[in-house]
């Protein structure tokens, strides 16, 4: 194949559309391996495609304009005239803040437009592809009888840019509109508030349901039109996308792009900042309350004037301060803090739009602060916004309450007359003195205060709830979690069927169990049987009281029995990544119980790696009190909130768990770092190759969660191997060896030798038929958002990659192992995916039985000459059946000798058993990967599938022989647990590392040199069993003197990348060899290397840099 032809295929290759079985695919692979130009072009094209994709999905997602939506709505209504109203959900714009505001559509008579729903894009998890975060959800209120478009036009709805801040959807103010006498009450609260806050509408009872996804709840019919007006405002600004322009944070900044939308409750991700937030909120709430009391006590006559002359309300100051403090306090999670501060800043002036906000600024000025230009501008802007909002709201009210004709004329004085005689358009030239025109709305200030109070109370309650949640579910603190789904009962039928207001987008799956609460009382349980787009239908499993519409429903993890009274409340305690008092309380409870347990069990013998503990504990009332705080004691925050569900209900079947012999805490084992070896004593360094990268993924997870990984979790070679050093790959030999050396970037007077070994590439087409047996851990511990759903996703992705000749078997194990799917051809994708989806989590973890069944199945459908592999997907905890590591390993080894290999895919953290999984993969001649995100799942199962499945060499060992004349002493970085005795190098029975297609391994040595500069350093030997021929081969390469030369991050970025990765790992594991190093020095070097074009667009390098920046100053994970 020549270049021109190859170039025609590159795009297909990039997008995975190249016919893998066809001759073109293999020819292209061969060509690419040999042709540098084409390989480069491929890379360029790949990067370009990635960049364009990012460019396209960056920023706000375009949506149809409001008018056009109205037209379409109208059309839809025409078509569906006889259909009952449905809530609809729309991807829309407004990614920036993660708040979503809904557009309300019309109802026939009085309340034409009503109801805004604020929801959270909780579906977005931290690791979802960025595009996901750009999608917001806009809800359509039931379309009862949508207004004709003409009618809307007649009523003068327009999308106009009246503020210069972007289009605003609203209604033109008519000159002298007056309220209809039927209107319940003059607006007590400034209704523009809701809209201006850009979705921070906490008054709405629906807000309490912050996790409901995009459920819509129609407002009660009694809702005053005032509310409706406020909402309409919201709807308008939301649709036209001007919310962003009203918030202070520039949406264009990089931060919101990769920032997952987090609900307020999501502050629970970061325990400390949540605690902080709660404290701050409490404080300002208290002050507000006092203020409100004081205000109420004053004589009412000239309250508003006085209000104006007050010093800046504490609200603003307090919230600002809080924002600032949060920012400085927590520079680990700067983004989040920034978000909080955004909230704070945008909430206040916008939230109270001209009430609290403008008073704040105006008042601040009068309190003696010198007026800066900025202040003036701010004040002007606020006043103007207020005015415009007022105009709109007036108009809106007229429009909402009915046509002008039907409205009896009443004295104009009956309505707030802010706008009388004022120009409708920009009044931006007004000076700050103008701002002192007294407020004409009598209770404006007080109302604002009350509103603020109420909002703070809500925030407080939410934050507190998040905290409690965080304590009771340790996993809450990890960033990949999705919150519980919370929704409402919509309808109940006599047949025992219940409809929940939730749809497929909410993450609800069939089989999800919902606990139903009325107020705080548990009244029953539903299992979801059907999910439609707008409803989830379920059947009653348990019912203590008849269900009613509007009862709240909360998804439960697994099927558990709820407890009605808190006295026998139990809590499930995950790993608690925190040292806060709450966590400590919880921890001490666990340890206390452990002591009880261990009294019954035999004491652990020496050398056992596990600690006995029960993952589930029973709380006494006092303990529950200690853990959950005085929630039941009428705390201000919890009053009036829709639901504070009682502590998580106890798990069923914990009697089985009672036999647990494995710790809930993660198991890692630290191996001492390799020491320096004097060459004259031992000039051979021998170790088994290791191409795994799990350690890096695990550490990444920890660091992103705000902790340094446990020392045992850091295997330095896996850090180094996690990156691509672009070694040339050969098509002739199985391995190529590449050595570079230079003065060590991080060690003094040392030389760092980098030995890269790259296996040949076997394309997809060259892959042998595979007989894959998935052994999926379906125990209770896997029933967390970062586990089972990820497993299912990963398997789904993998199945999509398999060819027609491959077969898939699925075994799931909980308390018992069960065969879910037997030997299905990979072409039956649907059947396989359905089977994967059917797997439910329950019970304990009987790993040994699962593996036995898996191996039996693998042996049954053995494909001679093909890939026969058991793929274990687990979080590693085995607690019943044979749990002793050795006997499981024996089984794995037996089958390995029969040709069935074992690949381990780790999921989840906390109860994670790193040791077991690594050993299993090691003994099973398979690879060991850790999947913490969808992206990682894609990388392992799609992009590097060949590497994962297609082994090219077994038992690969490396021996480096140093020349004692040249090298005084050496130290191997990493590979501690891969050590092989020197004399065993040519013993082919020794189990060593396996290398997949195209995989590379890198070994780093720190050397102290001596002697002549032109002498070679030594020789590298690689010995392995060629999988194709079954023969043992050995290759060798001299470490030539010329491979040693001075290098800089600019000249050899990849060399420095390897050095940085190793240094990072050494720092993370507190290696004594990194004693002089610091994260700062590392960061500087890495930044220089990463700025080079070769690395600039490598997402893994960007990620490493992020981790290095983050890691500084983090506490070690408990």
């Amino acid at each position: 194949m020549h270049c021109e032809k190859a170039e025609m295929l590159l795009a297909q290759m990039i997008y995975g559309e190249l016919d893998s079985a066809g001759p073109e695919g293999s020819e292209l692979a061969v060509h690419l391996a040999g042709c540098r130009a084409c390989a480069e072009l491929l890379n360029d094209m790949r990067v370009a495609a990635g960049l364009v994709r990012e460019g396209l999905t960056a920023g706000t997602a375009p949506v149809l304009s409001a008018e056009r939506q109205a037209v379409l709505l109208n059309k839809a209504a025409e078509i569906n005239a006889r259909r009952p109203p449905l809530a609809r959900r729309h991807p829309g714009a407004l990614g920036g803040k993660g708040r979503i505001v809904g557009l309300a559509a019309a109802s026939a008579a009085a309340v034409l437009l009503a109801g805004v729903l604020i929801t959270e894009t909780f579906l977005c998890t931290a690791n979802a592809p960025p595009a996901c975060h750009d999608e917001a959800i806009v809800c359509f209120e039931p379309v009862k009888a949508p207004m004709a478009y003409d009618e809307m036009k007649r009523r003068d709805i327009y999308a106009a840019d009246s503020t210069g801040e972007g289009p605003v959807f609203g209604v033109r103010a008519s000159p002298a509109p007056t309220p209809a006498p039927t209107e319940p009450a003059p607006p007590k609260l400034a209704y523009e508030d809701d809209g201006r806050r850009g979705g921070k509408e906490t008054q709405d009872p629906a807000f309490g349901w912050r996790d409901t996804g995009s459920r819509t709840y129609s407002l009660p019919a009694t809702k005053s039109p005032a509310d409706a007006r406020g909402r309409l405002q919201t709807a308008g600004s939301a649709t036209s996308g001007s919310v962003q322009s009203q918030t202070k944070a520039p949406v264009a900044g990089p931060a919101p792009r990769h920032e997952p939308a987090k609900p307020l409750a999501g502050n629970g991700y970061d325990y400390e900042s949540s605690t902080k937030l709660v404290a701050e909120l409490r404080k300002s709430e208290q002050e507000l309350r006092e203020r409100v009391q004081r205000e109420k006590a004053r004589p009412g006559k000239d309250k508003d004037e006085e209000a104006f002359e007050r010093p800046a309300p504490i609200v603003v100051a307090e919230r600002m301060k809080e924002a600032g403090r949060l920012e400085t306090h927590n520079d680990i999670d700067r983004k989040e803090a920034a978000r909080n501060s955004d909230d704070a800043i945008s909430d206040i002036p916008l939230g109270a739009s001209g009430t609290v906000g403008s008073i704040g600024v105006g008042g601040g000025a009068m309190a003696g602060r010198a007026l800066t230009d900025e202040d003036k501008k701010k004040a002007e802007k606020l006043r103007e916004r207020e005015r415009i909002a007022n105009q709109k709201n007036e108009a809106m009210r007229d429009w909402v309450t009915g046509a002008e004709a039907s409205r009896p004329t009443s004295p104009a004085g009956a309505r707030p007359n802010d706008d009388q005689g004022r120009p409708r358009q920009s009044t931006g030239k007004q000076s700050i003195e103008d701002a002192s025109i007294p407020y004409s709305k009598p209770t404006e200030y007080q109302a604002a205060l009350e509103r603020e109070c109420k909002r703070l109370t809500e925030d407080l309650a939410n934050a507190e709830y998040a905290l409690k949640d965080a304590v009771s579910h340790g996993y809450r603190l990890s960033p990949v979690n999705i919150p519980d789904v919370r929704t409402k009962v919509v309808d109940v039928r006599s047949t025992g069927n219940v409809a929940l207001g939730a749809g497929s987008d909410s993450g609800i799956k069939e089989g999800t169990v919902f606990l139903i609460y009325r107020k705080d009382e548990y009244i029953g349980k539903i299992r979801v049987t059907t999910v439609w787009n707008d409803f989830a239908g379920g059947q009653i499993i348990e019912q203590r009281k008849p269900f009613m519409p509007d009862d709240s429903a909360m998804s439960s993890r697994g099927d558990r029995t709820a407890s009605a009274s808190p006295t026998d409340a139990r809590a499930e305690l995950g790993p608690l990544f925190s040292t806060s008092p709450h966590a400590q309380a919880a921890q001490s409870l666990v340890t206390g119980l452990n002591r009880e347990d261990s009294a019954k069990q035999k004491p652990p013998t020496a050398g056992e790696e596990v600690v006995a503990a029960k993952p589930f504990i029973v709380l006494t009332p006092e303990q529950a009190q200690a853990l959950y705080g005085p929630a039941q004691q009428g705390q201000p925050g919890t009053q009036g909130r829709p639901v504070t569900p009682p502590p998580p209900p106890p798990p069923k079947g914990d009697s089985e768990e009672g036999e647990a012999t494995l710790a809930p805490a993660a198991v890692f084992k630290a191996v001492p770092v390799n020491p320096f070896v004097m060459t004259k004593d031992d000039r051979f360094s021998t170790f088994g190759l290791d191409v795994d990268t799990a350690s890096y993924s695990i550490s990444r997870r920890y660091i992103r969660g705000g902790y340094l990984p446990p020392v045992g979790a850091v295997r330095m070679e896996e850090f180094v191997n996690a990156f691509d050093y672009n070694y040339p790959c050969r098509t002739s030999g199985t391995f190529s060896v590449i050595a570079d050396a230079a003065p060590a970037p991080f060690g003094q007077d040392l030389t760092l030798l980098k030995v890269g070994i790259r296996g040949k590439v076997v394309g997809r087409e060259g892959r042998k038929p595979a007989n894959l047996v998935f052994v999926v851990d379906a125990s209770g511990s896997m029933d967390q958002p970062d586990r089972m759903p990820l497993v299912k996703y990963a398997l789904g992705e993998l199945v999509g990659q398999l060819g027609a000749g491959d077969r898939v078997t699925l075994v799931a194990y909980g308390t018992k192992a069960r065969l879910v799917l037997e030997g299905a051809p990979a072409s039956e994708k649907k059947a396989i995916l359905d089977a994967i989806d059917r797997v439910q989590c329950e019970g304990s973890t009987n790993l040994s039985e699962g593996l036995s069944v898996g191996y039996r199945m693998a042996a049954q459908s053995f494909v001679p000459g093909g890939v026969n592999r058991v793929i274990l997907c687990s979080d590693g905890a085995a607690n019943i059946g044979v749990t002793a590591g050795e006997s499981i390993l024996d089984q794995v080894r037996t089958f390995r000798d029969k040709g069935v290999t074992c690949t381990c895919v780790g999921f989840g953290a906390g109860t994670y058993n790193d040791v077991l999984l690594e050993k299993l993969a090691d003994s099973g001649d398979g690879s060991y990967v850790f999947v913490d995100s969808r992206r990682e799942a894609r990388r392992v199962f799609v992009e590097e599938l060949s590497a994962t499945l297609q082994t090219i060499a077994k038992d690969a060992k490396i021996q480096v022989e140093f020349d004692p004349r040249r090298v005084r002493r050496y130290r191997l970085v990493g590979y501690e647990n891969r050590d092989i005795a020197d004399e065993k190098f040519r013993d082919d029975t020794v189990d060593a590392g396996e290398v997949g297609s195209g995989q590379s391994a890198t070994a780093l040595y720190e050397l102290e040199l001596q002697g002549p500069a032109d002498a070679d350093l030594g020789t590298v030997y690689v010995r392995y069993k060629n999988v194709d021929t079954g023969r043992v081969e050995e290759i060798s390469q001299r470490l030539e003197a010329r491979s040693l030369r001075p290098r800089t991050p600019e000249s050899d970025p990849r060399y420095y990348l390897a050095a940085c990765a190793a240094e990072f790992a050494e720092l993370l594991r507190d290696s004594e060899h990194a004693a002089g190093g610091s994260f700062d020095a590392l960061r500087e070097t890495l930044e220089r290397a990463a700025a080079q074009p070769a690395l600039r667009y490598d997402p893994r390098v960007v990620e490493l840099l992020e981790l290095v920046r983050k890691a500084k100053g983090l506490p070690r994970a408990p």
């Binding site: 170039e7 025609m8 590159l10 795009a11 297909q12 997008y15 559309e17 360029d44 094209m45 990067v47 370009a48 495609a49 960049l51 364009v52 990012e54 460019g55 396209l56 960056a58 375009p62 949506v63 149809l64 056009r68 939506q69 037209v71 379409l72 059309k75 839809a76 078509i79 569906n80 259909r83 009952p84 609809r88 959900r89 729309h90 991807p91 829309g92 806009v138 379309v143 990089p254 792009r257 990769h258 309808d491 039928r493 069927n497 409809a499 049987t529 059907t530 439609w532 787009n533 707008d534 239908g537 930044e1087 220089r1088 990463a1090 700025a1091 600039r1096 667009y1097 390098v1101 960007v1102 840099l1105």
Partner: protein, 189 residues
Amino acid sequence: MAGLLKLDDYKTATRAAEPCDLTEVVGRFQTPLLRYVGGILNRDEDAQDVVQEVFLCYCRFSQRGDAEAVRNLSSWLFSVAHNLSQDVLRKRQREKKAQTELAAAPAPAEADEGQAVDTIIRQAASERALAELRKLPEEYRQVLLLKIVQDMTLREIAKVTGLSFGNAAYRLNQGLKELARRLKEAGVL
């Protein structure tokens, strides 16, 4: 799902006219469609017009009961969008209106040293890439956009655009290659 559900009453109530569920269709497809058409036409109002028309077409279709014929909704919608935007382009040409080329994107902002590799750079690069994409010849652009926005396979793209498979593949390749070349010239790659 099967067996357990006795919720047919809901089903009939909510899903009677399933295929004409316009709101849902709008919700699902407005953003990708707008991205695609916007990328083709380089003008927002035109894109809005076209996308609205696409949905109206869909309405008419489903009203006529042809909705069943709309097997692959995505392909169908994009085909319609493609055809309509081609119409617009043709009209523009007739009117001899110069197509509003986007002003050349500003060169990617020079990086602060401290954030050399940070997301900022990447963002600037991706913005630049987007700008370059918009300047590509139209025949490359449509194929690339369909691929990137909706992740269609070449076969689907061929169906939507009415090209042959080979032609679509050729255009995708050339487009991507050209894009890479331009980005390289611009110093982004």
